[in-house]
């Protein structure tokens, strides 16, 4: 996140003059000057001016409200000047008049040249392999090496997103990869088979190997000057890739430029283990390639297996079909015929053994839960590189975050439920475990992340559950609370001003304890807020203790951003928390607390309100005082009763008699002593 981006000020104030919007006091965006040639699905481009450096050619991309940019990648790219890619100069939410809400804007320096290919359907003159190597492959290798070092991926490499530079023959620039989620709008042409099997919103950020594949496909298209498969629909193209291999399918009968044949074939290899790496490509470019033979996974089966009246000869397509029709798949897996096919149709004995064990282990479970689990695991074995398949949903595990955010935006409760189940049942972490077992030790962190998420999903209270998973998996996702949706709050820094503004405009909050706000804070805040969340857990958000818990959570946010006072929110809050003040039993204490809360409310000080209402000592003092007062009341009442009782009168009379008897005795003794001593 850039420091310059002004995100705290109310939206409409950003409009500077007529139809002009200024980002970070530097970049003026002109909503009436769109740049259709620079646009992409999910993010439109507009003319922008750099007020500090007017000669600089910049443009702005405005992300659509439901499409979330890759802010984490922007942060990395900002200082990555050695990479041949369009660099985001600045970014942040701005008020966008066309949508009437805050949208995310990104400022880019405009590439001096146009795209290498205006569109995939357009033909261009064939580019000479040597020029391609010099202007595309070499800068691409530099860029991807930097990306690999920084552990990020591009995921938007395609000919119409590669730009020429002003200098003839100089290296080309990769286009924008941050305005939309990874692989968003990327055609199946540039996606690996495994990635294409997942919907575009669930492909994940992938690995550098996915970028190499896209680069290979781009080189192929640029080399032959046209995209031979642009007219094919996604499904047919995927089937063609599976049947013929990506290289053959994309070539579609055309001839690949001579010298590039070998690297493009290597880059388009459908087995990630066999696909050329950056090292291979660098060595090849230097003419020193020494490639050792690598084990190739065989997806083809010896014999076909019939499923839903169709013969399958490839475990990848079979896994895909099983993933979609999982109930029928589960039934088939338990048949004798399937067992026979396993023994005779697959040549990989280890795979056969694993599948047989898995199916045997699930023999007892006949319900949907065990069937879905079985299908997911079988699919993971049949197509280990493929997406995670669960009850008809296919998603790359690192794309679950995007899948979830997409489902939330579409209000797709089924997908939300399926993703939640996947995490809850540990299927996602199992998928990573399986990969780790096969030698992918770099996925340990992801596996741990999903195990941690499993814990969040198991708890249903505010601050946990699927909302928490949503924000944990999407670290720059704006808060999706209905109250804050139009404010684009993607950082904790923006949260309190946005809530305060909402309260000022609407006179209060519909629901003070909001699951999205709680989860958003829970995932973004430094340190633990478990105690505050525990207060929300069992109260369904209506009780005073839940409101105090929520106050505590927001107070923690205020502590992190000390200058953010929220007078509108606290004034409203003071009224909401009146029952908590009334709970103090001592009138004097209650008065003192109320005065303190009122004072804090006027100042907008959430921390003071929370400290006052959660002060244990104050509560103990009040409780002890109450118990003491109760005791004193009882004792006083008893004493009054005693003083006004007949027994007390009798006792008084008896005392009189005792005194009289005493006086009499004294007189007797004194007289006796006096008489005898005198």
């Amino acid at each position: 996140m850039t420091e310059a981006a002004d995100t705290s000020a109310p939206g409409p104030e950003e409009i500077d003059g007529e139809n002009e919007i200024v980002l970070a006091d530097r970049y003026r965006i002109l909503p009436n000057s769109p740049l259709p040639e620079m646009g992409m699905p999910g993010s439109k481009a507009y003319t922008a001016r750099d007020l500090k450096n007017p000669n600089e050619q910049v443009f702005a991309r405005i992300c659509e409200p439901n499409v979330f940019p890759r802010v984490e990648v922007m942060v990395q790219l900002k200082n990555m000047r050695e990479a041949y890619t369009v660099i985001p100069e600045d970014w942040g939410p701005i008020y966008w008049p066309a949508t009437g809400e805050r949208c995310f804007a990104i400022i880019f320096r405009r590439p001096e040249g146009g795209a290498l290919m205006p569109s995939l359907t357009a033909g261009i003159p064939k580019i000479d392999p040597e020029i391609l190597i010099k202007t595309v492959l070499s800068p691409a290798l530099v860029t991807l090496s930097v990306f690999e070092r920084k552990k990020i991926t591009h995921r938007a490499i395609r000919p119409d997103n590669i730009f020429k530079t002003a200098v003839e023959g100089a290296g080309c620039l990769f286009g924008d990869c941050v305005s939309v989620p990874p692989s968003w709008g990327q055609s199946t042409i540039f996606e690996t088979i495994e990635s294409s099997m997942a919907p575009l919103w669930a492909r994940g950020r992938g690995t550098i190997s996915d970028d190499i594949y896209a680069l290979g496909a781009s080189l192929l298209i640029l080399g032959i000057g046209k995209c031979t498969v642009s007219s094919m629909n996604e499904r047919d193209l995927l089937n063609a890739k599976v049947d013929q291999g990506s290289f053959g399918a994309l070539l579609n009968g055309d001839v690949v430029p001579g010298r590039l044949r070998e690297p493009i074939r290597g880059m388009l290899s459908d087995d990630p283990m066999d696909r050329w790496t950056l090292e291979d490509l660098t060595q090849w470019a230097a003419g020193t390639l020494r490639r050792t033979a690598r084990p190739i996974r065989e997806y083809k089966t010896d014999r076909p297996v019939k499923f839903r009246d169709k013969d399958y000869r490839n475990t990848r397509t079979l896994a895909q079909a099983y993933g979609v029709h999982w109930k029928q798949a589960a039934s088939q897996m338990k048949t004798k015929a399937f067992d026979t096919w396993l023994q005779r149709g697959l040549s990989d004995t280890e795979l056969v053994e694993d599948l047989t064990d898995l199916i045997a282990a699930s023999a007892g479970g006949e319900d949907d839960a065990s069937a879905s689990k079985l299908v997911t695991r079988v699919c993971a074995l049949l197509d280990p590189e493929g997406p995670l398949r669960y009850k008809g949903l296919s998603a790359m595990p690192d794309g679950l975050g995007y899948a979830l955010s997409h489902a939330f935006e579409q209000d797709d409760k089924d997908t939300v439920g399926l993703v939640t189940e996947m995490i809850h049942k540990g299927l996602a972490s199992d998928w990573f475990e399986l990969k780790i077992a096969k030698g992918r030790s770099d996925l340990t962190l992801e596996s741990k992340t999903f195990k941690r998420l499993q814990q969040f999903v198991r708890q249903s209270g505010p601050g946990y559950g699927v909302e928490r998973v949503l924000y944990e998996l999407n670290p720059f996702l704006p808060c999706r609370s209905p109250m804050l949706k139009s404010s684009y709050v993607y950082s904790l820094r923006d949260l309190l001003p946005a809530i305060d503004r909402y309260v000022a405009q609407n006179g209060g909050m519909k629901k003070f304890v909001d699951r999205h706000i709680a989860a958003f804070v829970g995932s973004r805040i430094k340190g633990s807020i478990d105690s505050q969340l525990a207060a929300l857990e069992h109260s369904a958000g209506v009780s005073v203790s839940a409101k105090i818990g929520m106050t505590g959570m927001l107070a923690k946010v205020q502590y992190e951003h000390q200058n953010q006072m929220t007078p509108h929110l606290t004034t409203r809050l003071a009224a909401e928390l009146e029952p908590a003040i009334s709970k103090f039993q001592s009138k004097t204490l209650r008065q003192k607390v109320r005065e303190k809360i009122d004072q804090a409310a006027q100042e907008g000080n959430l921390m003071e309100i929370y400290h006052t209402l959660s002060n244990k000592n104050l509560q103990q003092k009040d409780n002890k005082g109450h118990a003491r007062a109760k005791r004193q009341y009882t004792e006083a009442q008893r004493e009054i009763g005693r003083l006004e009782s007949a027994e007390f009168q009798e006792e008084a009379r008896r005392t009189g008699w005792k005194i009289a008897a005493g006086i009499s005795l004294v007189i007797g003794v004194v007289t006796t002593v006096g008489v005898f001593s005198w």
């Binding site: 207060a535 923690k556 709970k583 009168q649 009379r653 005392t655 009499s664």
Partner: protein, 183 residues
């Protein structure tokens, strides 16, 4: 068998009492024989006390005690006169037939009776007055407590003077957590 043992121990316990009583009776008889003049004066002089003892129905026989002290004060001067003279039976008869002696015995006893009748009501009035003041002070305290803590400390239905609409839950569980920041 246990009962027998109990009875045996009871009789064994009674035996020393009985012998003690015999010894006291013997002692008193010996005293009467040895100091007959004094006994005659005391017996006649203490008649008001003996009567008061008989008619006194108050618990602890305070009337008798009041009369006894002053009655003794009336008798002692005449005992002194007896012991200062011959201290024989004629001397004792002379005392008990003296009209002034009788006047002294009964006047002193009368003062005793007056003390018994007047003092308790005086003391009771004083104590009642003081108790009333104390009760009033306590009542004020009760009102003060109710004002400060509400009706629920009375043990009746909670209906706080001000905070009667308190919510069902206290800021207890929420506050259990750590403070968000050091103040």
């Amino acid at each position: 068998m246990a009962k027998d043992k109990e009875t045996a121990s009871k009789t064994a316990g009674k035996r020393p009492g009985k012998s003690m009583a015999i010894m006291i009776v013997c002692g008193v008889l010996g005293f009467i024989v040895a100091a007959l003049p004094t006994v005659v004066v005391l017996l006649v002089g203490m008649i008001p006390t003996i009567v008061a003892y008989i008619i006194d129905l108050t618990p602890g026989r305070y009337a008798a005690r009041c009369v006894a002290g002053l009655n003794i004060a009336g008798v002692v001067p005449f005992l002194n006169r007896l012991w200062s003279s011959t201290n024989d039976l004629p001397g004792a008869i002379a005392v008990v037939t003296d009209v002034y002696a009788w006047l002294a015995f009964y006047l002193a006893s009368g003062v005793g009776w007056a003390l018994f009748i007047s003092l308790p009501s005086f003391v009771a009035s004083f104590k009642t007055y003081s108790a009333k003041r104390k009760a009033n002070a306590l009542r004020e305290r009760l009102e003060e407590l109710v004002r400060e803590w509400g009706d629920d400390i009375t043990g009746n239905k909670p209906g706080d003077v001000e905070g009667g609409d308190r919510a069902a839950d206290a800021p207890d569980s929420a506050s259990a957590g750590s403070k968000p920041a050091p103040a």
